[in-house]
């Protein structure tokens, strides 16, 4: 189960970020932000090597002692669910692309994917 789920805009700011337990929020933010380095690296590598082969799975981005950060994974059910929910948010005509995500449905779906922490 996930302890932190973040959706990052292509400009690298968080569209949505949520973590459990909440007291470590800052640490998660730092971790997620730092792992963007690897995302950038992988994306640019993908761009060079296989431009036509659009692989959304970035795999393990940033292992830390306590947690592992995975990039957008489509080949697992978890990420497909996240992707579908994200698509729903984007399809909402009242959502302004670029704004932070405040959808309740998305939030609920993310909660279901998270560790049910005490």
């Amino acid at each position: 189960m996930a302890v932190c789920i973040a959706v990052i805009a292509k400009e690298n700011y968080p569209l949505y970020i949520r973590s459990v337990p909440t007291q470590n929020e800052l640490k998660f933010h730092y971790t997620v932000h730092t792992s963007l380095d690897v995302v950038e690296e992988k994306i640019s590598a993908v761009g060079k090597a296989m431009a036509d082969q659009r692989e959304l799975y970035l795999g393990l981005l940033y292992p830390t002692e306590d947690y592992k950060v995975y990039g957008y994974v489509t080949n697992s059910k978890m990420f497909r669910k996240l992707h579908n929910s994200f698509t729903d948010v984007m399809c909402n005509p009242f959502y302004n692309p670029g704004d932070t995500i405040q959808s309740k449905a998305f939030d609920g779906m993310v909660s279901a994917m998270m560790v049910q922490a005490s």
Binding site: N12, P14, D37, E65, T100
Partner: protein, 1283 residues
């Protein structure tokens, strides 16, 4: 090889599969060298079980002397010491010898093998020619081999091979070698397959028992590692690695299961407290110490992991995959920490940090040992993780051992350090002599504060450098931030500042608010220590408004600012300018009046709504907005260009004077890395003359924002709220919006400004500045642009009629409107109207003016009533003076006056111009009013206004309510004058006393009125006809000038009956007397009493001269003298326009009338009635016929020719149709040739002229006469025309 060791040393990597040699040892020794060389030369394909891919493999072997001890006993599963093949060597060629000893020896060997159920053996018979030659009683070679085969290889004849002359260089020898080696390899592989397969099966069986109690992972580990060893021995590193990976996965799974509550007994041994943390050891191929611990079941988790990884590392390096080592290492280290936590193994605090630190460095050393520098540099991304991890661990050790504290370690810290160092044990023999080993590094780093700092900085900088090199800026910043924390702990804020700033900039640019808040807090601390007051205050302001902080923290930072602000400034201290963005956000601004366009001096208020971000109420001494003033005075009232954007009508404006300020996203910094939204507005370019659309377009207003470069550097360096604005210049502009002593509550506040409107021009809000004691919060730009305009207006006088149309001849009310503009009407100011005769001003004593104040801008906004003032009007001979009441500027003064425009006697000449009282020349122009046929008079009034030295000319248009028309009527010689007076206005009038007089009365003519005496009502658009008979005694004057006059008064229900005014109409009558009379008779066909349709009738026309032409008339009439008789030529013409008659034959002609009274000319013609009934007579027209005379210089111009044509085109419609006889007969002579050709002829040739008579000169007796026409007898059909 007897020198072979008793026990193979398995920790050298020189292991080879064991092959035993029995039989003739000296023979084998002689062949050993070549054999060892030849065996691996050629690869063999190894086909494998379980569907594994076949492999080409180079075989090597360790040849040892056969001993029975070498054969594995039952249950011994060791594979490394397992002899895969047993060879018996012999060069016996003598049957006797064979029988005597060799056979027996072989038998013994075979028995031993059989005892150990080993079936992998081979007998080699070496033949040599030299040996054969020595002996005489030599049996054929084959016989010995056959014997051996016969004795030992009952079905496996291939188990006995012959090697011929192995030491000779002959082709036969080579062939023999080759086949021998092939055999040897094949048998070896067969043995491998068989024995390894059996081993694997056993191993699997063992693994399947892992759920049984008493199963030991360590035992199983040893078994599978045996297999790994063999693969490694066979140089099959991949396969060997797989064995270790399987073990790794199995163990990991057990730990995870343990975490999930499913513990295995054997795991207990791994849960022992960690006592040693001396890190990985990767310098040996096999760490025998650890292996033995595992074998004995005494290994700790770290021991097992270390050993496993060291084996994996060795194999990966054999496989030339060093970067996988680094990745796996990081994973391993993370994993170990997690596993120890999961298994709840008790660890001395810091011990794991030591272990990780040492391990990281060990891995890095190992990698450095097998790669060159360039390779290392190119693969930073693989090693940097380990560097960072080591750095982190060293840092946490430093914190743990009090090496980062400003005061150095306490005794407790020192004790802890000693404990940690104890767990490292002694340095390993491999690195004892090297200068820089991980062990030495750690020991040194923990030895003193200085050494720690040196090592920590070294590692940190290395990590930062590597991250920079591979472009991982975020990671580099994170390490940098960690360094900053270190420096802060060390009390060195100068060094920390740079790192914090870099990090903060990144977080702000990428919009990560939690990081921004966290880093900013550290920054504030740093700046406070550095005494960077301005920066600290700015950061405090940002933090005070930061929603990520709790109320307490925010209040703290807010108090920091307020307490600074309240300090009395020192002599050198200046005010501190901070960015407004942190303090408050502009929400909206509202103009009142909403148009934001006012006249000079008018009141304009701006309501600014500000969201204060401070957590507590802040008292602002002064809130001021500087204004940029520009004289761009397009005459605000005149500016109506649709493309002009008015304040309040911007993209956000709702047209009600509200400017909304765009709000950044809640993440203050994210907005700047986002591209701003397009701001478009429509532009239309209209032609100034007729306001038709020339072009239309869309203009993007914020191109400068959108087309900015967007490379990563720019976006990171964009000045944002996080970084102070470069210079906040507080512009001391003269013009300001000011509000004093405002208390801003947290949240939305509303502040009212009164805008200066002293000078006309356009005012743009530039900066907003709030002063709190010594601190100023400045917003250097206000976007979107907010501006208002102040205009100045010239005073203006307009005069407009109260009703739709002003009528001439009747008193009319007009409204005077004075828009005072910037002029203030003082007491004594007066309007001077020049009096004109044609339009006197009728003033009464009671006259009052209304003063209205115009509030607001261009729109004709509702006027505010100010009150009524009396108006005094004095009139002198030339000037009417209207004294105006005092009126303030930008007000409207209104009053009404009555004027009367005299109707000039009609008909008016077009260009009549009359000078009135000498100086002013006023023009009365009359034109025929297009629709209502009203004649109007433009009356100009000249007015001197007090605000101008020039006179104002104002034109008023009056309409003449009547139109008169006169007609001369004749009855034989008697004459009547009819005047028709038409009321063309919309009002009703009473008319009285119509009078017609001669203007120059002659005694000869008397005008006898035939009209009623009473008043008559003439309604709108109706006419009144008046008739006079003309009587004269002697001769009629050729020209009669008359004047018609009538009194009129408008009928109004409201007004009391007014006095009658006179309307006059002058006209002139020429050529009044009758010259000719025309009579006509229609005679039915002979023998008939009445005319019948379709029958020709006779038409007799007689023209009689009634009077001799007078002298004047004679001049006009062309008279010719023919044979002494004076005649006048006339042309007559019979036309029937109503198509009742067909004129047959000649229809026109020219007659010469003798100039004698009662001279008559008769003409006979034939006409045919086309219809039955009382038909009017056909028209008979008479014209003057003026023949062409050569003397006539004037060539008949085309116009007159055409005129004649027109006259002659009597029946145009019919004429055009065609030339049937009947139509032609009805056509006129002239009409025939209306073709272009004939016209040309007419133009070219001199033609006689026709001229009509004036009305009354020719009297037609037949006018109105009718004749009865009977229908034709044989007509049974009667046509009835109903029209």
């Amino acid at each position: 090889m007897e020198a072979h060791e008793e026990k193979p040393i398995i920790y050298t990597m020189e292991n080879k599969p064991i092959v035993t040699c029995a039989g003739d040892q000296s023979l084998f020794t002689s062949l050993y060298t070549s054999l060892a060389q030849q065996l691996p030369k050629e690869p063999m394909e190894w086909r494998r079980s379980y569907g594994r891919a076949p492999k080409m493999i180079h075989l090597e072997a360790n040849f040892v002397q056969f001993k029975e001890e070498l054969l594995p006993k039952d249950g011994n599963k060791a594979l490394l010491t397992f002899p895969f093949l047993h060879i018996y060597w012999t060069d016996c060629c003598d049957t006797e010898v064979y029988k005597a000893s060799v056979k027996e020896d072989m038998q013994r060997w075979q028995n031993i093998l059989r005892l150990h159920s080993s079936v992998d053996w081979l007998i080699v018979v070496v033949e040599s020619d030299a040996k054969k030659k020595n002996k005489t009683n030599i049996l054929p070679r084959t016989s010995i081999v056959d014997k051996i085969r016969n004795d030992f290889c009952n079905k496996q004849s291939d188990r006995c091979v012959v090697l011929s002359d192995p030491l000779k260089e002959s082709s036969r020898s080579q062939e023999s070698w080759s086949s021998f080696l092939t055999k040897l390899r094949t048998l070896l592989l067969m043995s491998f397959t068989k024995n390894l397969g059996r081993f694997e099966d056993d191993m699997r069986t063992l693994r399947e028992k892992r759920t049984e109690p008493g199963w030991s992972f360590c035992d199983y580990f040893m078994v599978q590692e045996e297999l790994a060893f063999v693969f490694e021995m066979l140089q099959q590193f991949e396969d060997a690695l797989v064995q270790y990976d399987e073990l790794d996965a199995l163990f990991t799974q057990y730990v995870l299961n343990f975490g999930a509550g499913d513990g295995a007994n054997w795991l207990g041994s791994f849960c022992a407290p960690v006592r040693s943390w001396n890190g990985l050891l990767l310098r040996r191929p096999i760490d025998m110490e650890k292996r033995e611990l595992i074998q004995r079941g005494e290994a700790s988790l770290l021991d097992l992991r270390s050993y496993l990884f060291s084996r994996q590392c060795t194999l990966l390096i054999f496989l030339q995959r060093p970067w996988e080592v680094t990745l796996r290492a990081l994973e391993l280290l993370h994993n170990c920490v997690q596993e120890l936590r999961l298994l709840e193994v008790s660890v001395v605090p810091g011990a794991l940090d030591c272990w990780v630190f040492l391990s990281c460095l060990e891995v890095l050393h190992r990698i450095e040992g097998c790669c060159d520098r360039s390779q290392l540099e190119a693969n930073c991304s693989h090693t940097v993780g380990l560097w960072t991890y080591a750095t982190e661990k060293l840092k946490s050790l430093g914190y743990l051992c009090g090496l980062v504290a400003e005061n150095g370690p306490t005794s407790e810290d020192l004790n802890r350090t000693v404990d940690l160092l104890a767990g490292l044990g002694t340095e390993r023999p491999e690195t004892v002599n090297s200068m820089q080993s991980p062990y030495k590094k750690l020991k040194e780093a923990l030895s003193s504060v200085e050494a720690f700092e040196k090592h920590y900085l070294e590692l940190s900088h290395a990590a930062v450098e590597m991250y920079r090199a591979i472009g991982r800026m975020r990671s580099a910043r994170l390490v940098g931030k960690s360094l900053a924390e270190f420096y802060m702990r060390k009390g060195d804020p100068e060094r920390a500042e740079g790192f914090l700033e870099e990090s903060l900039r990144l977080y702000v640019a990428e919009g990560w608010s939690l990081q921004v808040t966290h880093t900013r807090k550290q920054m504030a601390e740093c700046q406070k220590l550095l005494r960077q007051t301005d920066d600290y205050l700015q950061t405090s302001a940002l933090l005070a408004g930061d929603a990520n902080l709790n109320q307490e923290e925010r209040t703290h930072f807010c108090q920091e600012i307020l307490s600074f602000a309240s300090q009395p400034p020192g002599p050198s201290d200046q005010t501190v300018a901070l960015s407004m963005a942190a303090f408050a956000q502009l929400r909206q601004l509202q103009f009142s009046p909403p148009g934001a366009v006012v006249h000079v001096g008018a009141a304009l208020q701006l309501e600014l709504r500000v969201r204060c971000l401070m957590p507590v109420a802040v008292h602002v001494g002064q809130l001021a907005a500087t204004l940029h003033f520009s004289l761009e005075q397009g005459g605000a009232r005149g500016r109506a260009g649709s493309s002009q954007r008015r304040p309040g009508q911007g993209p956000q404006g709702q047209g009600d004077g509200v400017v909304l300020f765009p709000q950044g996203s809640p993440l203050s910094g994210a907005g700047c890395s986002l591209t701003p939204a397009l701001e478009l507005y429509e532009m239309q370019d209209r032609s100034p003359s007729d306001s038709s659309l020339n072009s239309a377009g869309v203009v993007c207003k914020n191109v400068h924002l959108l087309l900015r470069r967007h490379d990563s550097n720019a976006s990171l360096d964009t000045p944002t709220a996080g970084v102070l604005p470069a210079a906040v210049a507080v512009d001391d502009g003269a013009q300001m919006l000011r509000a004093r002593d405002v208390t801003l509550q947290p949240g939305d506040n509303s502040i009212l400004f009164t805008a200066p409107t002293g000078e006309p021009g356009s005012y743009t809000l530039r900066q907003l500045c709030g002063s709190v004691g010594r601190v100023q919060f400045v917003q250097s730009h206000i976007y979107p642009v907010v501006q208002y305009e102040v205009y100045s207006q010239e005073p203006q006088l307009t005069i407009e009629p109260l009703s739709d149309n002003l009528l001439a001849g009747i008193p009319q009310r007009v409204k005077f409107t004075i828009a005072t503009g910037h002029y203030s009407i003082k007491k004594g100011d007066a309007l001077q109207l020049s009096n004109t005769d044609s339009m006197p001003i009728l003033h009464s004593s009671r006259c009052s003016a209304t003063i209205l104040s115009s509030t607001g801008g261009q729109l004709p906004s509702p006027h505010e009533h100010m009150g009524e003032r009396a108006l005094s009007i004095q009139s002198s001979e030339k000037v009417t003076s209207i004294s105006l009441p005092p009126t303030p500027p930008y007000h409207t003064l209104e009053f009404q006056l009555e004027v009367l425009c005299h109707i000039p006697p009609a008909p008016l000449k077009l260009d009549s111009e009359r000078l009135t009282n000498g100086e002013v020349r006023h023009r009365s122009k009359s034109r025929s009013h297009a629709d209502s046929a009203m004649i109007h008079i433009d009356q100009k009034v000249s007015i001197d206004c007090p605000w101008s030295i020039y006179s104002t000319l104002i034109s008023l248009t009056f309409y003449v309510p009547f139109k008169a028309k006169h007609t001369l009527l004749s009855a034989g010689r008697r004459k009547y004058i009819q005047v028709c007076l038409q009321n063309v206005s919309d009002s009703n009038f009473h008319l009285a006393d119509p009078v017609l007089v001669e203007r120059q009365p002659t005694t000869t003519v008397e005008l006898l009125s035939l009209n009623a005496k009473r008043q008559q009502l003439v309604c709108s658009q109706q006419s009144l006809f008046c008739l006079w008979e003309m009587r004269w005694a002697k001769d009629l004057p050729p020209c009669l000038q008359c004047e018609f006059s009538a009194s009129f008064v408008p009928i109004s229900a409201l007004d009391p009956p007014a006095a009658f005014k006179t309307y006059r109409y002058e006209f002139q009558l020429d050529r009044v007397s009758t010259l000719y009379s025309v009579k006509a008779e229609i005679c039915p066909a002979s023998g008939d009493k009445h005319c019948r349709t379709g029958t020709l009738c006779g038409l007799e026309v007689s023209i009689t001269r009634q009077a001799e032409p007078s002298e004047t008339e004679g001049e006009e009439e062309e008279s010719t003298e023919i044979e002494g008789l004076k005649t006048t030529k006339l042309m007559y013409e019979v036309v029937d326009n109503s198509s009742n008659w067909a004129v047959c034959g000649k229809s026109s002609g020219v007659v010469s009338m003798p100039v004698a009274p009662s001279a008559t000319h008769r003409v006979q013609m034939e006409v045919m009635p086309l219809f039955a009934g009382h038909l009017p007579f056909p028209n008979i027209k008479v014209f003057k016929y003026l023949p062409h005379s050569a003397a006539q210089v004037i060539q008949p111009d085309t116009d007159s020719c055409l005129e004649n044509d027109n006259l002659s085109l009597l029946d145009k419609g019919l004429d055009d149709q065609g030339d049937t006889a009947s139509i032609r007969s009805r056509g006129s002579v002239h009409s025939v040739g209306s073709g272009e050709q004939q016209r040309e002829q007419q133009r070219g040739l001199p033609m006689p002229r026709l001229e009509p008579f004036s009305p009354g000169q020719v009297f037609n007796w037949t006018q109105g006469r009718q004749v009865l026409v009977l229908p034709a007898t044989d007509d049974h059909v009667m046509e009835v025309n109903v029209t």
